[in-house]
Structures are given as C-alpha cells and as structure tokens.
C-alpha cells in the first residue's frame, strides 16, 4: 500500500484479556519494527523483523508480548493477559533494507486497558 496501515486505530480492553494489533507495511519493505509510546515519552523499541523472522526482540518487555510476520508482509503484535500498564500507543514502521534512509511509521494503535 501507499503507507503503513495499522488496525485498529483504537482498542479498549479489560485487564486480563488478549489483544492483537495489526500492521500492514509498505509493499516491498523487508524490515518491520514495532515501538511502544507511553504518554509523554518517546517511542521505545519492541521488536524488529527482517523478512519473516524476528531479527531482534530484545525490546519486548516480558513473555506476554509476542509478534509474528508469517509471510514477510503483515505483522501482528499479540499481548496476553493485558495489564493496565500496557496502555500506550503501539507504533509500527517499515523500511527497505536496514532503514538507513528512514522509517515510515503508521498512525499507531492506541491501546487502553481498563
């Protein structure tokens, strides 16, 4: 597509529930990144995919967080047993190769855990 698409744009869920956040990157971009932006903070790295594989998942805060990119295009960030502290804007970005020229970000999914 023309840009990075994230769905849903907003998600409200109850504490303890499971959520999935979707990212559709720019067509042909091999690299895909997930970031989390808490209120008043800069985005923090979660996970990086090169193709289908997770090249770096060092930013995932704990084992409740998991992400997949099975066909090297769309990615899904999955959060189990959500906690109120997971409330944030989850940003997805894609780039060609290693991102030297810049990432293109989606508009984000605002997750609220009540």
């Amino acid at each position: 597509g023309a840009g990075v698409s994230q769905t849903p744009s907003n998600k409200v869920t109850e504490k303890g529930k499971y959520v999935e956040l979707r990212c559709d990157p720019i067509s042909g971009h091999t690299a895909l990144y997930w970031y989390r932006q808490s209120l008043g903070q800069g985005p923090e790295f979660l996970i990086y995919f090169q193709g289908t594989g997770a090249a770096d998942d060092s930013g995932l805060p704990n084992d409740r967080f998991f992400a997949v990119r099975p066909e090297g295009s769309v990615s899904t960030l999955k959060i189990q047993r959500t906690e109120r502290g997971d409330s944030a804007v989850y940003l997805c970005a894609s780039s060609s190769s290693g991102g030297e020229g810049g990432y293109t970000f989606g508009s984000g999914t605002r997750l609220t855990v009540v």
Partner: protein, 115 residues
C-alpha cells in the same frame, strides 16, 4: 551505546519568530541522525535526516538542522514559525543495540506556537 538527549521538553515561540529545538547525541562513530514530527493523533513524519553527507541538512516545511561533531549536536531550526508547526518533535539516532541497528528516540520536545 548510542543515545540522544533533547534538552527541552517544551518550547513556546510566537508565530513568525525563529524556532530552535535542541538535540545532543552520543555515539562512538559517525551517526545517522533524524528529526521526526508528530502531530496530535497522527503518525510520525520524517522531517530530515543526516547520513554523513552535508552537515547542513534541509528538510520539509522550511526546517533544517546542522550536524556539529565538535559539539555532538543536531539542533533543529526554522526561521519563522507557523501555527501549523505546533507538534511534538523527536530527535532520533540510528544505532546498534543488542546487535542490530534500530532507531533510538529522544524524549521529545513539544512546540507551542503562540498567535
């Protein structure tokens, strides 16, 4: 490890006056540096990037930034602020952590433009 420090969390300017948003970086090698802007409820938009070519980088919407190695700075400037410039601005370094290149963001500077 690479990092960026944005020296001001909030900056207020009057419309038509110059804008200066400050950023200092830390890197053991010549870094790639970026400025992104984030308007309310919108995605991050790339303003400009420095990748070891010219030290004065021109971006979109009249913004520019100068890479100063001696001062480890990459400040963002604009000669005349417009109301539409009100937004959050992030300085970013592309650096290696945990073995892979990734963007490392500063904490952001919120720019307010007064009429």
């Amino acid at each position: 490890a690479q990092s960026v420090t944005q020296l001001d969390s909030h900056v207020s300017v009057s419309e038509g006056t110059p804008v200066l948003l400050r950023c200092n970086y830390s890197s053991s090698y010549s870094p790639s540096l970026f400025w992104y802007v984030q308007h309310p409820n919108k995605g991050l938009q790339l303003l400009l990037k420095y990748t070891s070519a010219a030290t004065l980088v021109k971006g979109i919407n009249g913004f520019e930034a100068e890479f100063k190695k001696s001062e480890t700075s990459f400040h963002l400037t604009k000669p005349s602020a417009h109301m539409s410039d009100a937004a959050e601005y992030f300085c970013v370094v592309r650096g290696v952590t945990s073995g892979t290149y990734k963007y490392i963001f500063g904490t952001g500077t919120r720019l307010k433009v007064l009429a």
